[in-house]
Amino acid sequence: MKNQGALLQVIGLTALLSGCVSTSFEQIREAETGIEAGERVAIIGRQNQLGYEADASMVRCLSHQTSKISVVNDSTFSDWMFPWFEPRLAPANLEELKTLLKRPAFAARLAKTKVRYLVWVESVANTEDRKGSMSCSVGIGVGFCLGFMMWENDAAYEVFIWDLEALTQAGRMRSNASGSSAILGALVPIPLIAPVERQSCNLVAKNLSKFILEEGNN
């Protein structure tokens, strides 16, 4: 009975910890926005040849979760504009984009895509501060795990919004979610994962469409 009570306490503590995700969000508007019917927003993960690559699953999440505006995902847009948005060649800033727009074929192709806003995504997910241990044994017809492991994870987005009509940066957003995850080995492993990536993604997605649709200053 005493052991059962202790086990329940551990389960309760774990559930409490895994449910505990803290988030922060920050938005800076640099220009007015607005979007016409038929215009699109391309959401692209930042990559470069120095080895930086935005977390692909977080970029995909943002493309899927952004609603109310027509979104073009990373790979579709890169294919449409091939070869100009390949990691080695993609414009790093608006000046480089303006230089590319002097090429008639590039400008014509970009106009044809009807992409009005380019959303550059820098995203990273980290796991650190691992504590505890777990051991699992497997025998003939039987297997079990015992122990407790816990770690901290966080997911951060930084997003830059370029207006391709005005050729300005319309704004930027930053979100961060952090929380504790755990695996409890009570004969079977019970994962209790803090949904930091999803929460961070939802925060940006919700505010991104609002930012683009709403004119004026926030």
């Binding site: 890169s78 449409w80 504009m81 070869p83 080695r88 074929a105 590039f106 192709r109």
Partner: protein
């Protein structure tokens, strides 16, 4: 021979075979249709070296996996698509003999192919490096320049159980990087610029 001895020998054979797993990769890289590049008003002869047509890479790793990667064929098709988009007129020739009305002859060669799996790098990444040499010859067949082109592709994954799929993706990315550089950087080579002025 005793049946128990036979069983033991058979067991050893199975372990030996499992330790020498051969994986063959035949690539099917797709590069998008090029619509955002102006083609150059040049007539170019393209000669494919054996390293472009039939390149096969074979490598064995200490953990017992043998890789056989067929890069040719697929690479030849990609280059034909890329050079067709880049030049107004393209002739594919068997050798670098002079042809009528040609401004330049281009002979691409694959000099080096390297790859790494997470077991080698210690990171969750499959990586590929390609090193090309692009030979540019004048209308008479004299070598003007050898332009070195390095391409890279990587895929981040924790799923190492599907190594062939992720290595294939990393190679596809490297090939796509190579084609993108051909489209953007080849027109900036001095020999191409001179041919455009003539």
């Amino acid at each position: 021979m005793q049946p128990s001895m036979l069983r033991a020998l058979f067991g050893c054979l199975l372990i030996w075979l499992a330790g020498c797993q051969q994986t063959t990769l035949t690539l099917q890289t797709r590069v998008p249709e090029v619509r955002s590049i102006e083609s150059l008003p040049l007539s170019v002869a393209l000669v494919y070296d054996e390293s472009i047509k039939n390149y096969t890479h074979e490598e064995s790793f200490p953990e017992g996996r043998n890789w056989l990667i067929r890069v040719g064929n697929n690479q030849e098709r990609l280059m034909t698509e890329t050079f067709t988009a880049l030049f107004d007129r393209l002739l594919i020739l068997d050798n670098a003999e002079s042809a009528d009305g040609i401004d330049l002859t281009i002979i691409p060669k694959l000099k080096d192919f390297q790859f790494a799996t997470p077991l080698q790098t210690g990171r969750d990444q499959f990586e590929t490096w390609l090193q090309y040499s692009i030979e540019l010859l004048d209308a008479e067949g004299s070598l003007l320049n050898e332009w070195p082109l390095s391409a890279y592709g990587s895929v981040t994954t924790t799923d190492t159980g599907r190594a062939d799929r992720f290595l294939g993706l990393a190679i596809n990315r490297a090939l796509r990087d190579a084609m993108a550089q051909l489209l953007v950087d080849l027109p900036n080579q001095p020999e191409i610029k001179k041919s455009l002025i003539r």
